[in-house]
């Protein structure tokens, strides 16, 4: 069965129109040696056979149904209630692309509006957009927004070295070829006081992550005032789960809040698709990137939802748009919305408390193992740094043999922490799993 609608006559007509004899002639510009390489593919298989083969391949993956996971570093293993997939799996939502026309999409638009509302409540901000691709994109967009709020006059972006290393990389990719400058993290040991000293009249924003990449809560007292005194904006990247337990950035003076929303009802998905959370103060709404859904009333006075403030976007404003992003991560945002609604205020707080207590239990017991040492004296949420008596890569290899996915090897991004691991503990880790990890580390560390 062919799925291609063109007939031979169609093809001949098209080729004749452009003056080429055969389809192969269209590829003459490709060097002959690589033009039609022999692919040496196996014989075709039936659907039943190919499913069997793919299943065997997928079973070679290490997955969280069969391994205990203590890896976080920006992607988190949290419980997902079954209501989430029930909602996201509905055919009305489960489309390849998001329909935004209000006439046919009230359900989708309402779900985005409710997601935005909950992001505002979590972050303590006044407006939230319909989401970006992931936490890294949101962070980079926040930096550009801060520059744009300064009308392009401030070109310096100060960022803490304890912002996720991949977010910092994404930010640098974003600003490549522009006059903007990213600074603050050249020295990976810089602390917030050092960054404060770097703020000046050319600074568009200060970006921190809280809890930071090492899981620690930053001392944000007076920070917003220092940033605002310099005329800059204060951007905070968050773990949304932590906001159920700790003060939201809106309460300590943030102007823009971004974050990775994967932990809200989205699977780890081997790294994506994820969900970029983005919220800000209302006075900056016209500089906010991305899509925004608003509530309104129709001609008969009934409540409805529409995309709003779209003249800011690139299909209208072209190169002067607030952002190059004219879409959102709708299905992941829907999952986050369904998750937050299911958990409720108290449920989410319970998740955060479980993370906090289990992480502290694990940290305490790991620190008691000879040779292992807890690094840093700041309070932490669900991740913590451990200095190891052996190379972290070696420890991880041996943990994996015991069906444990170990922590993030900090040497990958922080050379001064090459002998350290970042462990993550969530509500998903049972006491037995934690005790198993502690026992394994004791064995590996000792022998």
């Amino acid at each position: 069965m062919s799925y291609i609608p063109h007939t031979e006559a169609d093809r001949a007509a098209m080729l004749a129109e452009i003056g080429v004899e055969t389809i192969a002639d269209l590829f003459l510009d490709v060097p002959e040696a690589v033009r039609f390489p022999e692919l040496r593919l196996p014989e075709p298989l039936s659907e039943m056979e190919i499913l069997r083969e793919l299943r065997e391949m997928s079973e070679r993956n290490t997955d969280l149904d069969h391994y205990a996971c203590f890896l976080g570093a920006g992607a988190y293993n949290h419980f997902i209630p079954s209501t989430v997939s029930h909602v996201t799996g509905r055919a009305e939502f489960y489309t390849a692309y998001t329909p935004y026309q209000p006439e046919i999409s009230q359900g989708t638009l309402q779900s985005i509006y409710e997601y935005q509302t909950m992001v505002c409540q979590l972050t303590g901000m006044e407006v939230a957009n319909a989401s970006h691709y992931d936490g890294a994109t949101s962070l980079a967009e926040a930096a550009l927004m801060a520059v744009s709020i300064s009308r392009g006059r401030r070109k310096k972006i100060v960022i803490s070295p304890l912002v996720h290393p991949e977010y910092r990389q994404t930010l640098r990719t974003y600003i490549r070829g522009t006059e903007l400058m990213v600074t603050g993290d050249e020295d990976l040991t810089r602390e917030l006081d050092d960054l404060k000293a770097m703020l000046d009249e050319n600074t568009a924003c200060l970006i921190i992550q809280n809890p930071n990449f090492l899981g620690q809560l930053e001392d944000v007292n007076g920070l917003a005032d220092a940033v605002h005194e310099a005329g800059a904006l204060f951007v905070v990247a968050v773990d949304p789960i932590s906001l159920a337990l700790f003060k939201p950035p809106g309460e300590y003076g943030a102007d823009i809040v971004v974050g990775e929303g994967q932990s809200l009802g989205n699977q780890l998905n081997f790294g994506g698709p994820y969900l970029g959370i983005f919220a800000c103060r209302e006075k900056y709404v016209r500089r906010m990137p991305g899509r925004l859904v608003g509530a309104t009333v129709d001609t008969e006075g009934r409540r409805g939802f529409v995309l709003t403030l779209t003249p800011r976007e690139q299909h209208i404003r072209r190169e002067k748009a607030t952002s190059n992003i004219c879409t959102n991560e709708a299905l992941c945002a829907l999952a986050a919305g369904a998750y937050l609604v299911t958990m409720g205020k108290h449920g989410l707080r319970k998740v955060a408390e479980l993370c906090y207590h289990k992480a502290h239990y694990a940290a305490q017991h790991i620190a008691e193992i000879p040779g292992f040492e807890l690094v840093g004296d700041r309070p932490f949420f669900k991740e913590f740094v451990v200095r190891c008596p052996k190379a972290p890569a070696e420890i991880n290899r041996r943990l994996l043999e015991r069906k444990i996915i170990g922590g993030y090897e900090l040497g990958r991004a922080y050379s001064h922490l090459a002998d350290c691991m970042l462990f993550c503990v969530t509500e998903m880790n049972t006491k037995e799993e934690i005790d198993h990890l502690v026992g394994a580390l004791r064995e590996i560390g000792g022998g």
């Binding site: 009308r151 016209r286 003249p311 800011r312 209208i316």
Partner: protein
């Protein structure tokens, strides 16, 4: 379409009224008609300096957001704060209460390139005849 005889006009549909070495500027009645209901005007800050032709403001209507360009160069001395609460003033009274900025003129000779009211009316008529917008 209304014009104001005391103003000079640009091809990008801004007006400017010069009094001494100071000037007031906004967008024309024709521009506001084309844009339809104006919902927001983003104005510059006092003290900013713009050259002739620089984008100094963004006017947002229900259907578009457009830049406004300096008719002649100058330094901003006042912006119309009223437009923050009442952007519809631009629709109601584009040459009066709907003004955008007051500025100190850098070079009065730049005025010579601009159209007077009659020339602007002719320009708009011609633009419309050509199917422009």
């Amino acid at each position: 379409m209304k014009v104001d005889a005391s103003c000079r006009y640009t091809e990008t549909h801004e007006w400017v009224r010069v009094e001494g070495n100071e000037a007031t500027a906004g967008i024309t009645d024709h521009a506001q008609e084309q844009l339809s209901d104006i919902v927001y005007v983003e104005l510059p800050e006092v003290g900013e300096t713009f050259a002739k032709g620089d984008a100094f403001a963004v006017v947002e209507s229900v259907k578009a957001a457009s830049d406004c360009y300096m008719p002649i160069g100058g330094e901003i001395i006042e912006v119309n704060e009223e437009l923050g609460e009442s952007p519809e003033l631009v629709n109601k009274d584009p040459y009066g209460a709907g003004w955008f900025i007051r500025f100190k003129v850098s070079d009065a000779s730049e005025l010579e390139d601009l159209m007077d009211a009659a020339a602007y009316e002719e320009f708009v008529a011609k633009e419309e005849a050509e199917g422009g917008h």
